[in-house]
């Protein structure tokens, strides 16, 4: 595509003061030197006010005086500097998560400041209580603590109060309910003590609790935000945009969010189509492997349906965008996705399950303590104080950190293993897995086709064919290109949708379809085997060589599948491709159970059957047809080459050409799940010791503070231990 067509106006956001702004994902930034090169290189362009590269997220923000620089010039300039840059779709919502992360970090800072300063005052009161503090001085310290604690709880506690209120309104109990009750009661009791000149105030416990819990919460949100940002970069690099044809005949590149049903887009040969629609003009072949798992190409002509994610390998097409209408594949997928999402929201995370057990237990213990002390003849005031002390000491500090601390460490380990998590709770679900279900095309096999091994073709013929292939953009030609590293033939000409030819020493070499190479029909039929695509190569009137090109397995697929089986996991293949193609792959990988020719509904149905028989399924798939299965499975993963919808439905994305990240993710999750259980068990044990002490009325603020920080530190250290445990896997 020519540079003049790169109209980027739809990606640009206007800023006040006559400035324009563009966010770009930059490919090829590896060192800090690149950062200086890009910023300096763009800074020299007159009109550009600011260019700043975020080295952590590999994103570039450029501001310029509107009208003085064309956005395309920025991309050209970056290209000249040696970097490819891709604009972000401004329709994608991503500021909200960054904002939440910043808000939580602010709350962490505020509660940290409050906890430290109140602790300073509290230590004085505790040591004073043990010696000879004057009641007036103690009251002063309590009042100062109250002045710090009230606004802190009001500000930093909002996260928990809101979530608890929402849960109660929906008739559920989550972890935030006992947290909110504990914090509010601790604060109220302390205020009461302060007003009445009492000895014991729990201001430090309330703020410290918030501080520890907010750290866990922030880590969780920040982890998700970073994962999402990675996925967005990948989406931008894939160029999820379309070339729109305007009514006046002009063309412009627009983000997908700017397209509506009825718009017309141009899909060039070799482009991946990004919308669903009907072909208005043109004729071509489509690679639908990302959509249906089918490896054979499909022909489309005027009036035919095309789906987002398919690759146009023939000629240019004009496509009219359609909304998901009834009866189409996308409609079926969307319906199934909705159903799966609804089923998914009823699934309880480990921490929520713990909260469900924990909240009623703690609250009934506190109530019984109150009744018991009343019956024993203590005044209501003393009984209430003791009951609140029970709530404070059992406050789920360790419990609330138990899972997020492990999740953060485990997600860091997963990131290093090439796995990006969409959802932190995927870690604990991965640990339950008993069955691994793979899609075939693009998951067990590489996303792009390659030369099929074991063909009886002389080496120099393949070399020349590969050299000729370097002049073509056809996917089958691209599969041959890596076999020849040098320059392409001079004067090679590509005939779109047919093949490529070049003349050397009066011999014309042709690479392309059978008709393009002049191969007689009987020979074509003789060679066809159904499993592979065939591209023909012929020199002059010499013999025509059929070159088989097909899906090849990921380089480590055999070892990974074997390792999965060694872990005692059942391995199954569910594919939308033909039986012959699926059984060949299953045989090579020694997988006994496989199903071919499945529709998305059948895939989900088989997964449901497995679920009913008590299996926990990890679904690994990449196609549009896998998206509902990915959402319906217990836990799911997608390769980075997957269609957008599938990546969004999967719990995790794995990078690279290898399959081993799937195995590593399972291993890491196993250790992480063990650490979570240890942490939860420790929290339970802690309560076994703490509750009797509290019920008996022996808890002082000092004891509460020591117990709370010790238990929190213990679970955090146990989570960090994971890094060392994971070295051994």
């Amino acid at each position: 595509m020519g540079k003049h067509q790169r109209d980027l106006d739809n990606f640009v956001t206007p800023l006040p003061g006559g400035l324009a702004h563009l966010d770009l994902a930059v490919e090829g930034v590896r060192c800090a030197g690149c950062m200086a090169k890009i910023e300096k290189g763009l800074g020299e362009v007159p009109g550009i006010e600011r260019a700043r590269l975020n080295f952590s997220s590999k994103r570039l923000a450029v501001d310029w005086r509107a009208g003085e620089v064309a956005p395309g010039d920025i991309l050209d300039r970056l290209e000249a500097l040696g970097f490819s840059a891709y604009p972000f779709d401004p329709g994608a919502r991503r500021e909200a998560e960054a904002e939440e992360s910043r808000r939580l970090l602010k709350a962490v800072a505020v509660s940290g400041f409050a906890a430290a300063n109140i602790m300073l005052l509290s230590v004085s009161v505790w040591s004073g209580n043990a010696t000879d503090i004057e009641p007036e001085t103690r009251d002063l310290f309590h009042w100062v603590s109250a002045l710090i604690a009230i606004p802190t709880v009001g500000y930093a506690g909002q996260t928990f109060f809101r979530s608890a209120a929402a849960a109660l309104k929906a008739g559920r109990v989550n972890m935030d309910v006992p947290i909110s009750i504990g914090v509010i009661l601790a604060l109220s009791l302390s205020l009461f003590e302060t007003f009445t000149g009492g000895r014991h105030a729990y201001f430090d416990a309330a703020t410290m609790l918030l501080f520890f819990l907010l750290i866990g919460r922030w880590l969780d949100v920040d982890m998700r935000r970073r994962t999402r940002a990675q996925a967005e970069n990948l989406a931008a690099l894939k160029g999820e945009s379309a070339l729109q044809l305007l009514p006046d005949g002009e063309m412009r590149r627009v983000p997908l969010s700017a397209l509506a049903a009825g718009d017309r887009v141009l899909v060039a040969a070799g482009d991946r189509i990004s919308v669903d629609g009907t072909v208005e003009s043109g004729r071509s072949e489509f690679d639908r492997s990302l959509v249906t798992g089918e490896t054979a190409y499909e022909e489309v002509a005027e009036g035919g349906q095309v789906h987002a994610g398919t690759l146009n390998i023939g000629g240019a097409l004009v496509v009219r965008v359609t909304a998901a209408s009834e009866g189409t594949l996308l409609d079926e997928v969307n319906g199934l996705l909705e159903k799966a999402e609804a089923a998914r929201s009823s699934r309880l995370a480990l921490a929520d399950r713990a909260a469900k057990l924990y909240a009623p237990m703690v609250h009934s213990t506190a109530a019984l303590t109150f009744l018991g002390w009343m019956l024993a003849g203590a005044g209501w005031q003393e009984a209430l104080t003791t009951a609140i002390a029970v709530l404070i000491i059992t406050c789920p500090c360790a419990l609330a950190l138990a899972v997020p601390a492990v999740q953060v460490v485990a997600s860091g380990l997963m990131f290093r293993a090439g796995v990006l998590l969409n959802d932190g709770s995927a870690i604990e679900r991965l640990a339950d897995v008993t069955t691994v279900v793979f899609d075939k095309t693009g998951t067990l096999t590489l996303p792009s086709p390659a030369l099929v091994e074991g063909q009886d073709i002389p080496g120099e013929i393949i070399q020349r064919a590969a050299r000729l292939a370097r002049s073509s953009r056809h996917p089958l030609a691209e599969a041959l290109q890596p076999l020849y590293q040098g320059e392409p033939f001079a004067g090679a000409r590509e005939h779109r949708g047919q093949g490529v030819e070049a003349t050397l020493a009066d011999v014309t070499m042709r690479l392309g379809s059978a008709t393009f190479c002049g191969v007689p029909q009987p020979e074509v039929e003789h060679v066809a085997d159904g499993g592979h695509s065939i591209v023909w190569y012929r020199e002059g009137d010499g013999p025509a060589w059929p070159i088989r090109i097909g899906q090849t397995l990921r380089p480590d697929a055999v070892e990974t599948i074997e390792a999965l089986k060694d872990r005692g996991l059942r391995v199954v293949v569910l594919s939308g491709d033909r039986h012959a193609a699926v059984s060949a792959v299953a045989d090579e990988l020694e997988i006994d159970t496989y199903f071919a020719g499945l529709t998305p509904t059948e895939k989900v149905g088989l997964l449901d059957d497995m679920k009913r028989s008590g299996q926990h399924v990890l679904m690994v798939g990449d196609g549009l047809n896998d998206a509902p299965a990915l959402a319906a499975a217990h836990v799911s993963m997608s390769p980075v080459s997957a269609v957008h919808l599938s990546q969004a439905a999967a719990d995790a994305i794995f990078l690279g050409d290898r399959l081993v990240p799937v195995l590593r993710a399972l291993r890491i999750s196993g250790i992480a799940r063990r650490a979570m259980s240890q942490n939860l068990a420790f929290s339970a044990l802690y309560n076994v010791f703490a509750i009797p002490v509290a019920v008996a009325g022996f808890v002082t603020p000092l004891l509460a503070a020591v117990a709370m920080s010790l238990s929190s530190i213990t679970v955090t250290l146990n989570a960090l231990r994971l890094r060392y445990a994971a070295r051994k896997v």
């Binding site: 800090a32 950062m35 200086a36 300096k40 590269l53 975020n54 080295f55 952590s56 997220s57 910043r102 970090l105 602010k106 800072a109 505020v110 400041f113 430290a116 300063n117 300073l120 005052l121 004057e134 001085t137 002063l140 100062v144 710090i148």
Partner: protein, 56 residues
């Protein structure tokens, strides 16, 4: 004891100053790119190259 009336506000004031500094750095987006910031500190392209060498 009178020292308390003076020391507590000083202690709180220092703490608040620290908190304010952190919130300011957060607001001015200094935490957005931790990896890049580490490198920017050692990039010295803002210093003009020396024009002449000092005699030793």
């Amino acid at each position: 004891m009178e020292a308390l009336f003076f020391l507590i506000p000083v202690a709180l004031g220092l703490g608040l100053a620290g908190l304010a500094a952190f919130l300011w750095s957060l607001k001015s987006r200094q935490f957005d790119d931790l990896d890049g910031a580490a490198w920017r500190a050692i990039m010295d392209d803002d210093v003009a190259p020396p024009h002449r060498r000092h005699g030793g």
